[in-house]
């Protein structure tokens, strides 16, 4: 028993998880397990069918009764396979007789009705214990797993039933009626053809399910042994011992390397610093290389189903009032020709056309409601801000004669207020008279740039100059000369003075 080669992960599992591991084993080695189970039983099944051709259920029953023996070959194969021993199908089949004769009588008679068969089988087949020693071993092993072992056996039986009827029904569905195939007579009794039909699928189902519950029982048995003999601990301990052995032999060579390294370092100390540190350029390259690597650079396409945006689709639905309107029409409009005879077609066509045009207009209004509303609001109703960078720019807050007031502030030694008023008034006029779409989030420079887009050169150069002077005062505390201010005031009247 070489635990290093164990083909499954040794750990103490719960009973259910052990069964799941058994099902994994069965799927992993499915082909061989199925063949070594099915071939010997088929060899017996065919002669039995011939013997009991009038009553084939008996053939099925005998195969069913001998199931403990059919399970022995898959079990033997798995016991080799878990330790990675190469065993071929024919090698296992050669063992058939020697495996079958192990403790055969009890298994053929009273042990056949054991409800933990798959769990108990390894003790006979693999450990070769009989009689009293088998019983005491069973007592040691079974412990808390007897319920799980029973559940495995019972559910294996359920799966067998499901497979048998599932496959049989599916095949029966696909047989055309013309074939005249029937499993039951007209009175509802099972006829011979039906008996044959179900017996064959019973056999197939038995052989299909056999590897699963056999492996589940075997895995449960292995789990118990792992628990009692601490296989998982042994494997880890062995690896640890190996690791330490390796590291001691490595330590010797490491000491030599260190000695050499020290020698090297003492001779090349001056260069060593530069050699270790990357300059930023090569470091950048290294980083890019790592980021391009497999760990970071993977791309994958993920496809999934998502709900469409249903809200968007609903937008163009016909509103309820149109339906009401049509109903109203039906009640109130006279569907008749001039001579009084009813003429539904023409009247309906007329109504449909009218409704169509109304709908078209409604649709167009809805579709272009944004631009239309802007049009209706006109220049004035643009959402011009009242306050920009903390300055009140609403027209109401301004005095009537701006330049005079500005000079008044200047001479009262309130230069900041003077220029502030001038700048404020300019913004206000630009919003009012030139309908510039300033937003409260704009900066002074952005306002100046916006003025430039109007294409009036004198205005934009004036405003740019004013902005510069104002910014220098406001943020740089540079008081302009009186001449500059006077010129700004004069120009203001020209550019932005009352046009009204």
């Amino acid at each position: 028993m070489n635990l290093d080669k164990l083909q499954f992960k040794a750990s103490v599992r719960s009973g259910w998880q052990a069964i799941d591991l058994g099902y994994l084993m069965a799927t992993a080695w499915w082909r061989t397990l199925f063949m070594v189970g099915a071939l010997p039983s088929l060899v017996l099944f065919i002669p039995l069918l011939i013997v009991f051709s009038g009553n084939p259920f008996w053939a099925g029953f005998i195969i069913w009764w001998l199931k403990p023996f059919w399970e022995r070959l898959p079990l033997y194969f798995a016991s080799r396979k878990i330790f990675a021993e190469q065993t071929t199908q024919s090698e296992v089949l050669l063992q058939t007789w020697s495996l079958f004769k192990k403790d055969a009588i009890p298994w053929l008679l009273w042990r056949r009705i054991s409800v933990q068969r798959a769990f108990n089988a390894p003790i006979t087949v693999l450990e070769g214990l009989t009689g009293k020693s088998r019983r005491s071993r069973l007592n040691v092993l079974q412990g808390k797993y007897s319920d799980t072992a029973f559940a495995n056996q019972a559910i294996g039986f359920c799966f067998e039933l499901i497979s048998c009827f599932g496959i049989a029904f599916m095949i029966a569905f696909f047989i055309p009626d013309d074939f005249g195939f029937d499993t039951h007579s007209s009175t509802g009794d099972l006829i011979l053809a039906g008996e044959w039909f179900y017996t064959i699928f019973w056999f197939i189902a038995m052989m299909l399910v056999l590897p699963f519950h056999t492996m589940a029982g075997f895995a449960l048995y292995l789990n118990r042994r792992i628990e009692l003999e601490a296989w998982d601990i042994e494997i880890t301990f062995r690896n640890l011992a190996h690791r330490k052995q390796d590291s001691t032999s490595k330590a010797a060579s490491l000491a030599l390397t260190l000695l050499l390294a020290i020698l090297l370092i003492t001779t090349t100390t001056s260069n060593s610093y530069a050699a270790v540190n990357h300059d930023s350029h090569s470091a950048q390259q290294l980083i890019e290389k790592v980021l391009d690597g497999e760990d970071f650079g993977q791309e994958k396409t993920v496809r999934e189903w998502r709900f469409k945006n249903l809200v968007e689709e609903n937008e163009d639905k016909i509103p309820d009032w149109i339906i009401d309107f049509i109903e109203w029409l039906e009640k109130n409009v006279d569907f008749s020709n001039a001579d009084g005879s009813p003429n539904y077609t023409a009247t309906w066509l007329k109504i449909m056309l009218i409704v169509f045009f109304i709908l078209l207009i409604v649709y167009l209004l809805r579709r272009y409601r944004g631009p239309l509303m802007k049009l209706g609001r006109g220049k004035k109703t643009g959402s011009a801000p009242d306050v920009m960078f903390g300055l009140d720019v609403s027209p109401e807050s301004l005095p009537d004669d701006i330049p005079a007031q500005v000079m008044l502030f200047w001479h009262a030694n309130q230069q900041r207020d003077a220029l502030g008023l001038l700048y404020r008034a300019s913004l206000s006029r630009l919003i009012d008279q030139h309908a510039l779409a300033f937003k409260s989030s704009h900066t002074e420079a952005e306002c100046a740039a916006l003025v430039k887009t109007r294409g009036i050169n004198s205005l934009s150069s004036y405003f740019t100059g004013l902005t510069r002077v104002w910014c220098h005062l406001a943020y740089g505390h540079e008081i302009p000369e009186l001449g500059t201010l006077e010129k700004l005031c004069d120009d203001w009247s020209e550019e932005l003075g009352d046009a009204v």
Partner: protein, 226 residues
């Protein structure tokens, strides 16, 4: 290496591990749920039958709702566990190990119709054993898994042991093995313990019982015993 564990690496570089659950426990859990539904519907029929046709109508609506939404509601509002799954200690999660959402639970349960074919979940069984995560058709479509819910392990009682620091550095798995060796010393036969300890002669520098004793004390040290 065959193993029932399923691993997911989350963005932080942390690996989450769960044990996938196979057909046998799931079939049992299903049977328990099936019986619960049966009992509930039987009681409901006793209540509704006196109301005649109307009662039968309501009972049929109830049958529809119970059949389709019993698993969905339990899975969404009870941590992915129907009563049957709770009894078996298993739970439905999405395949990134996050809790199952209403949509995914609905998909996996509506697709029971496909798994059910041709007779009592045969297709479901076949799909389950043909992939290593034991997903049936509904699970594959919805991207869900059934995993086992870890039972909290009992705190071990350690008496009369003085801890011993290991003389050499140990990997995490080796530390766990040392602790396991201590915890399971009741189950392991004495000769087997000696045999296991002898593997680590080179590490513990103790023979026979001395080696076993040293390993126990190292295990206790990893458990935080002073």
């Amino acid at each position: 290496m065959l193993d029932t564990s399923y691993r997911v690496e989350i963005p932080g570089g942390i690996e989450l591990e769960a044990q996938v659950v196979g057909p046998v426990p799931r079939f049992l859990a299903f049977s328990i749920d099936f019986i619960i539904r049966g009992i509930f519907l039987f009681i409901a029929s006793l209540v509704s039958i006196p109301f005649g046709q109307l009662g039968i109508g309501f009972w049929l609506i109830l049958l529809f709702l119970v059949e389709w939404f019993y698993p969905v509601l339990f899975e969404v509002f009870r941590n992915g566990q129907t009563p049957g799954k709770k009894a078996l200690g298993i739970s439905v999660v999405q395949d990134d190990l996050t809790p199952v959402s209403f949509g995914t639970s609905l998909v996996r349960n509506l697709l029971r119709t496909a798994d059910f074919l041709p007779f009592f979940y045969l297709f479901g069984l076949i799909t389950m054993v043909s992939n290593s995560r034991f997903q049936r058709l509904g699970d594959l479509a919805a991207g869900t898994l059934v995993i086992s819910v870890r039972e909290s392990s009992k705190p071990a009682t350690i008496d009369n042991i003085t801890a011993l620091a290991p003389s050499t550095s140990l990997l995490k798995i080796e530390q766990t093995a040392m602790v396991d060796f201590l915890h399971r010393s009741q189950q392991l036969s004495h000769p087997r313990q000696q045999e296991l300890a002898s593997i680590l002669d080179g590490v513990t520098h103790g023979k026979n019982d001395d080696g076993v004793d040293q390993l126990h004390r190292i295990g206790a040290w990893f458990l935080g015993v002073k």
